[in-house]
Symmetry: C2
Subunit: 260 residues, 2 copies
């Protein structure tokens, strides 16, 4: 079966059994999600952080203590259905298991956060080129000097992803992604990387550099790595995240997040 | 000074000193908000309830324990700047003070929730008539049979407001209000009140009945009374709410909540 034509449940069943390089391309038309799972004593602060920073941290769903499935992953198990996890203790990576069950407790709360795969498909569908996809690379991501709104124990700087967009299509890219506020929404910055603290577009802090085609403008979107970065810098006792590029494939259609 | 031309800070200073019948019409162009304040032990459950029920419970801002001001009410005080409050103990109304300071503790968390005043202005600006405003009445509101998504200790049915919209303008009303997801967004139901458990449009559960003009269709929006109703049915030890129609006038412009 082609990855793109798998149902989300089929994709999750596959990832329960084995790891893959990336979930990109699986279950076309369905939203994928970032995972951050924390002990419930951090849950209000983190949910409030997300409420105050909806562009980097758009919440698609929350699994309460004791829940391992939800309408976003029907008949699934959040502890096993992502290809690989990263476990952090006091901000330090301690394990990269393909099954997170051993780290899960009855007090673990799981936050599912929107992923830019959704709006990238919308850009492509509308004829706006996405350079890193065309070049077969991971999207370049940068730590900025933009402060997130703090909440409780969580604070820090925003991480952005960058896509070079043809100058004639920047307005289209803004318009199209504005319609997906649940998956990072409109850009946070267009052009002028220096003013948000990015010194060298060729040296991203995460992901891979892309070749920047002539006639394009660097456009920056709030990135789903932000909450993971914030959580890591805030050093909770334990945090369980997805491994980069290996997302939760959800049962929600991309189009369900389109407004208005 | 005319109410409509007051700055939000001027309006709040006025309400700090005296009660008014309603805040409708004050500080034109600025968003008004519902208030629900709870002890911090309910805070995660309530914020999660709001995240799962964004149409009835769109969160504009949260004041953490110890905070009485925020960017939504600069130099203000949430305990005094609403004309009148309602205080509920275990779900029962126990007081209607004009100053809530005596009930506020260092563990109180305040949730500010979007109000339909914002989208009603957008309807009027676009030439869609709003019957209850034309008739000088409060909007009619109804308890429905629509279950909200539960979260923690909070669960219950959705409350909706109804506006009779000319059949030729129903699509416009949907389109216009869809652009304001932070203030209840698109309707949850168009026509057919019986199927959501409303037996008599002339007997609303809250607010006032309106005359329904010929050629109109009843259109139902999720209502900001829902969270208050849910909180009341869940009987937290203490809840501090605004008095109906007496909202917090915020420093956020209505247009800031328009997407895309």
């Amino acid at each position: 079966m082609q990855p793109s034509t798998m149902t989300p449940a089929q994709a999750r069943a596959l990832f329960r059994e084995r790891d893959v390089a990336t979930t990109a391309g699986y279950s076309a038309g369905y939203a994928q999600a970032n995972l951050i799972a924390l002990d419930k004593r951090y849950a209000f602060d983190f949910l409030l952080f997300a409420q105050r920073n909806p562009k980097p941290c758009p919440i698609l769903g929350v699994l309460e203590p004791g829940q391992v499935a939800s309408p976003l992953l029907a008949c699934g198990d959040i502890r096993t259905d992502i290809p690989a996890y990263r476990v952090f203790s006091h901000g330090s990576l301690i394990d990269e298991p393909t099954d997170a069950t051993a780290y899960w407790t009855e007090d673990t709360v799981a936050f599912l956060i929107g992923c830019s795969f959704t709006f990238e498909q919308a850009l492509l569908d509308n004829g706006v080129p996405v350079a890193h996809i065309a070049q077969g690379r991971n999207v370049p991501m940068y730590l900025t000097n933009i402060d997130c709104e703090p909440a409780g124990v969580f604070s820090g700087k925003m991480v952005v992803s960058m896509r070079p967009i043809p100058a004639s299509q920047v307005a289209d890219a803004v318009r199209i992604t504005s319609r997906y506020p649940a998956v990072h929404g409109a850009p946070v910055h267009v052009g002028d990387p220096a003013s948000i603290g990015i010194r060298d577009l060729d040296a991203p802090d995460f992901g891979e550099a892309v070749d920047i085609p002539a006639g394009t403008v660097p456009v920056f979107w709030a990135c789903g790595v932000t909450p993971q970065s914030i959580v890591m810098s805030s050093k909770p006792e334990l945090a369980i995240c997805h491994a980069p590029g290996k997302m939760l494939v959800t049962d929600a259609r991309d189009l369900a997040y389109q407004v208005p």
